[in-house]
């Protein structure tokens, strides 16, 4: 196997060989399909971390953790890059060539573009986009940073007129130049879309694509007012609780036009699409109603959405958050934030998922990322600055925890207490590997770590 294969297997086989351009997800099993992929041992996990008042320098930062067991630095924070301010650091995404990591702030609307290829062990801040709101025409709350060929698609959560949930998608070139804004369809301007049911709320959250079906899908959360306010205050505010999204939108990927609006009541968040060449479906989970939903193309080629499973007891506010699908479309990890539990669903029949394993990871739990082979799973704790818990056992409130998974159970390998380390509240994780950016030196150091399936 040549390195071309190893890396573009990274680009190629991993997503061609396996499944012809499948879907994408939060982590290595299914990020944007147009990028190099680490199919062997990752060297680093980059953790986009919220600054917290009273913790260290109190500002948002990109934390680099060495996760390669062969490294002398294994299990250690090897770099921490503060960016200034608390921006409500939330999600991040790699460009298609995997040279840059885009990390955005839901509050201040800044987008930080980190160079992770020059020295993968020590990212640098290459650019900051600070005019996202003005340039986009009023989109607020850049959330998902999703790679498309030569460009990044950013979803918004809110707007600069009322800080409510109506919003849009914003496209940038890889070098950070604004391209265009795609507003979410509303009743006043459906943009050519049809409503499958009763809702067209114009809200946004996550973004995934199925290129083989020329489809892109979006989900819907809530506006700035809600995602920024204290969780307890919001639960008591009857008006605020009406301001959640109830839709997914299926778009034409090539033309970026909305085609069909699906009713998915209760705030559908993360979208995870299947990889298999005939698996034309994606999962989402509703945060408020605590249900797993399937958006799928039916036999007539029409996109439908249906509720397929309960996730824990909705009256205990479990808040399903991040999810991760395995590369073989057989298993789906679903985290519930409030009880700090990760849940594994057997999705071999996507219409009838079954919960087969649960494990409490900490006091609260949000993100997870798994390696391509599913053998390593990483977790972080933070949801939103003003929704996070403030109390709990040491090391169990704001953490990064690494596990191995043998197909049956998780086994802890190491953990980092982000409070004790004075870092803040860890959120989204992305993987890095030296071998992605080959130099003669790096290749000899880590060529063996990158292996095709």
């Amino acid at each position: 196997m040549s390195n071309w294969v190893s890396r573009v297997v990274a680009v190629g086989m991993a997503f061609f060989g396996l499944s012809l351009l499948g879907a994408a997800s939060a982590d290595e099993t299914c990020m944007s399909p147009y990028m190099a992929k680490i199919v062997g041992q990752e060297d680093f996990v980059y953790v986009w971390t919220l600054g917290a008042e009273g913790i260290g320098d109190e500002q948002d930062k990109l934390v680099t953790i060495d996760v390669n067991p062969d490294s002398k630095q294994y299990g250690k924070v090897v770099a921490s890059l503060s960016v200034g301010g608390r921006n409500e650091a939330h999600h991040s995404g790699l460009t298609d060539d995997r040279r840059y990591l885009w990390a955005s702030g839901l509050d201040t609307n800044k987008i930080f573009i980190f160079d992770i290829h020059t020295n993968p062990a020590k990212p640098t801040l290459d650019k900051t986009i600070d005019d996202f709101v003005k340039t986009s025409g009023g989109v607020v709350g850049p959330h998902t940073n999703y790679a498309l060929p030569g460009r990044m698609m950013l979803t918004g959560l809110s707007n600069n007129k009322d800080h409510g949930g109506r919003t849009g998608l914003v496209e940038y070139t890889n070098n950070g130049t604004y391209i265009t804004t795609h507003w979410m369809p509303t009743d006043e301007d459906l943009g050519g879309a049809t409503k499958s049911g009763k809702f067209a709320d114009g809200y946004g959250y996550d973004f995934r694509v199925l290129p083989r079906r020329n489809a892109m899908l979006t989900s819907s959360f809530t506006g700035w007012n809600n995602y920024m306010m204290n969780l307890g205050k919001m639960m008591g505010d009857g008006e605020a609780m009406k301001r959640f999204g109830n839709t997914m939108v299926v778009w034409d990927l090539h033309t970026r036009k909305p085609k069909r609006i699906l009713d998915v009541p209760g705030a559908p968040l993360e979208i995870r699409c299947a990889w298999g060449p005939h698996n034309n479906y994606c999962f989402t989970a509703t945060a408020l109603t605590s249900k797993l939903w399937l958006a799928y193309e039916d036999d007539n080629g029409t996109w439908q959405a249906k509720e397929i499973a309960d996730i824990a007891d909705a009256s205990k506010v479990p808040l399903p958050v991040d999810m991760s699908i395995t590369a073989d479309d057989q298993l789906l990890w679903v985290n519930t934030w409030n009880d700090g539990t990760t849940r594994l669903f057997d999705i071999s029949n996507p219409h009838e998922p079954k919960e087969i394993y649960t494990e409490k990871i900490g006091e609260q739990l949000n993100m997870l990322s798994q390696s391509w082979d599913g053998k390593r799973v990483y977790y972080t704790s933070s949801l939103l600055a003003n929704w996070d818990k403030t109390d709990g056992p040491d090391g169990d409130v704001q953490f990064f925890k690494a596990f191995t998974f043998d197909g049956k159970k998780l086994t802890p390998t190491f953990a980092i207490d982000f409070t004790a380390e004075n870092l803040g509240s860890p959120h989204q994780m992305r993987f890095g590997a030296r071998a992605l950016y080959s130099t003669a030196a790096a290749a000899s150091e880590s060529a063996s770590r990158l292996a095709a399936r």
Partner: protein, 663 residues
């Protein structure tokens, strides 16, 4: 598994010209070598035709890499030759990323078989077509590097583990579509590169050069967004929202009727309690308005209002009002550029906030009270719910400096911020006889704008002060009799002989604050989680994520007099139908809830205002009172909201790219 470009397309390609391909930047120029060794430039090769630029190297082994790109270009090449409409209009370019091995001679050989003319084309066409696919290289890696950088094409050589070059390269496959104005219009990678869709895109950009299409001028949502992007103060010349032509792109029959009034939160959650709820959402790009003459409005307030009190030291002027209006909508007036006055006092939400019971400030910090309306605020002798300020000029600094509202650390910081914003250059000096931004002028400008937001001439005003006996319907007239009679409302919400402010300007204790302070969080709370879906939620389940509740003691917090506990300012009832939810803490959702609250005698306790007593209203009486309150909406609210929509929203935008902080 093969890339889709090797197989028939698995979906119907879009119709050319029905979608947009927004430019992705400029296609850079650079020196280049053709396959016959001629030195030329990329731009010379682009000429005045659209071009497809593909980065390849001849020894590339991955079937889904360069061979894919070349195969798709070959397929396109054949189709272009056969298509008389396109034949001479497109240039295909394959550029080597391995100049050391891919010399012009190698590229000539690589291209020879591929770009051969088709047998069935005429000689004339064949020679032209043969010239339309060019195989290119550069003199050296040094000459190639700027091209790779300009076209964002990362490559890296592959090495074995001893550090020896393997002769292969990794790169994310990219084919780039360039229009005749040398702008990049699309980028294709393995998952996207397919002859059918590339051809569709080519036809789309070629059609742009054709004479303008039939349908005349209705702007697409993209075009409106772009206009908004360029928005500056001159957007104030826009036509009113209501006058705008309907968009042809949508399918209005499928959508619910969107209310024609400008009032109400744009996501329209009315009826959300019901399973039958349907959205009636408005489009943000159509939230555009027209300016109105606010100075004239304040000079002659609508029927039912007295003259606007204007302090001697802050006379109203058009320049000052315009400046205050700009400040009111400027999000840069908060510490982290996220919160303007208008983010809580939202114009279409009654210059209050229909979406929240109590306000949310900078960084999401909790504000204990409901954002009050700005309509008719110029008449109020005391400001804030606890009445702690006396003039608008002073009041403005409260939210600007509150750590949980706009979060500015000092007066000086606000002044310096404004001095640093180019779009304020000269604006203060023009409004204040040469004075720049200062504690006084900032307050005076915003106060001047707020003072002009006078709204009346309601059905009630026309009936009561305009001798129009039919202006008020029978239910509202009965409601009025209750309002001044059995309902006791007018004892605080006063009505004078010649005008009505519907407030005595004083502070009273209704028991709402008492109840909030003296009750504890229930064990369960009914929470709405979706339209028509509620859950009885265990409140302990989210206690760890709830901040400690802080009491609100009202006027007492200012006077420290126990007798003043839980007293709050009497709000005006003008436009009250637009300003839900109600009371100082937004705890009552509807006007009916408010009337029922007073009907029950408030919340009895030691310092309850003695005017509040059980009223004994029956259901029809409550209906009539609601009808009366709903008759208090001013005739000019759409005009004032349209004026607000025309105001520019201030956001960061001078410098697109910041210099990163030094490490």
């Amino acid at each position: 598994m093969l890339a889709p470009g090797w197989s028939p397309l698995t979906f119907e390609p879009p119709v050319p010209g029905t979608y947009e391909l927004p430019p992705l930047g400029t296609a850079a120029d650079a020196p280049i070598l053709t396959s016959d060794g001629t030195a030329t430039t990329l731009h010379a090769l682009y000429g005045d035709r659209p071009a497809l630029l593909s980065f390849v190297y001849t020894t590339c082994p991955d079937v889904n890499g360069c061979p894919l790109a070349t195969a798709v270009l070959a397929k396109l090449h054949r189709r272009l030759q056969r298509d008389h409409a396109l034949r001479d209009r497109v240039t295909l370019l394959s550029l080597s990323i391995d100049p050391a091995r891919d010399t012009p001679a190698v590229m000539r050989q690589y291209g020879a078989a591929l770009a051969a003319p088709l047998e069935n084309t005429s000689d004339d066409a064949a020679s032209s077509a043969a010239g339309s696919w060019r195989f290119l290289t550069t003199a050296s890696e040094e000459a190639l590097a700027p091209i790779l950088a300009a076209y964002d094409q990362a490559i890296s050589k592959d090495y074995d583990r001893t550090g020896a070059y393997l002769g292969t390269m990794s790169h994310v496959l990219r084919v780039i579509l360039i229009d005749r104005s040398r702008r990049i219009r699309n980028i294709y990678s393995v998952s996207f590169l397919h002859a059918d869709t590339v051809l569709t895109d080519l036809r789309t950009i070629l059609a742009e050069d054709d004479p303008p299409a039939k349908d005349g001028g209705a702007k697409t949502r993209h075009a409106r967004a772009r206009d908004d992007t360029r928005s500056t103060d001159n957007r104030e010349t826009r036509v009113a929202h209501a006058a705008e032509a309907p968009d042809s792109g949508g399918t209005p029959s499928a959508a619910n009727a969107v209310p024609s009034s400008l009032q109400g939160a744009g996501d329209h959650k009315a009826g959300y309690e019901s399973r039958g709820y349907e959205t009636r959402s408005r489009d943000l790009t159509r939230r555009q308005g027209a300016t109105t003459d606010l100075l004239a409005l304040a000079g002659r307030p609508p029927r039912g209002l007295p003259a606007v009190p204007v302090p001697d030291d802050n006379p109203l002027t058009a320049t000052k009002i315009a400046l205050g209006r700009k400040l009111f909508f400027d999000r840069r007036l908060s510490l982290n550029d996220t919160v303007s006055c208008a983010m809580c006092h939202v114009p279409e939400q009654g210059f209050a906030n229909n979406e929240l019971q109590t306000a949310v400030g900078i960084e999401g910090r909790t504000v204990r009270r409901n954002a009050p309306t700005i309509y008719n605020v110029g008449y109020l002798p005391r400001l804030f719910h606890d009445g702690r300020e006396q003039t608008l000029e002073q009041q403005i600094w409260g939210p600007l400096l509150a750590v949980n509202e706009m979060g500015n650390p000092s007066v000086g910081h606000v002044i310096e911020t404004l001095r640093g914003l180019e779009d304020y250059d000269g604006r203060f000096e023009a409004a204040f006889a040469g004075d720049g931004p200062s504690m006084l002028t900032i307050g005076a400008a915003i106060a001047s704008y707020e003072r002009t937001l006078v709204s009346a001439d309601t059905p009630f005003d026309r009936w009561r002060f305009g001798d129009d006996a039919d202006a008020l319907g029978p239910a509202a007239r009965r409601g009025f009799q209750l309002f001044v009679g059995k309902g006791r409302c007018a004892s605080c919400h006063t009505i004078a002989e010649t005008h009505a402010l519907f407030t005595d300007g004083a502070l009273h204790n209704t028991g709402i604050g008492y109840r909030a302070s003296m009750t504890t969080e229930p064990a369960t709370r009914r929470v709405q989680v979706a339209p028509g879906v509620t859950l009885d939620v265990d409140t302990a389940s989210y206690a760890a994520a709830s901040e400690p509740r802080s009491s609100d003691l009202g006027r007492y917090e200012i006077t420290q007099n126990p007798a003043d506990r839980w007293q709050y300012r009497t709000p005006t009832l003008r436009n009250v139908a637009l300003t839900a939810p109600y009371m100082h803490d937004g705890s009552l959702a509807t006007l009916r809830d408010v009337i029922e609250f007073y009907d029950a005698g408030g919340v009895p306790h030691e310092v309850l205002d003695p005017r509040i007593q059980p009223l004994g209203l029956d259901a029809p009486a409550i209906d009539d009172l609601v009808a009366f309150l709903e008759s208090l909406t001013g005739a000019n609210v759409d005009t004032l909201v349209a004026d607000a929509f025309a105001a520019p929203v201030g956001d960061v935008g001078a410098a697109a790219i910041l210099v990163p902080p030094s490490p």
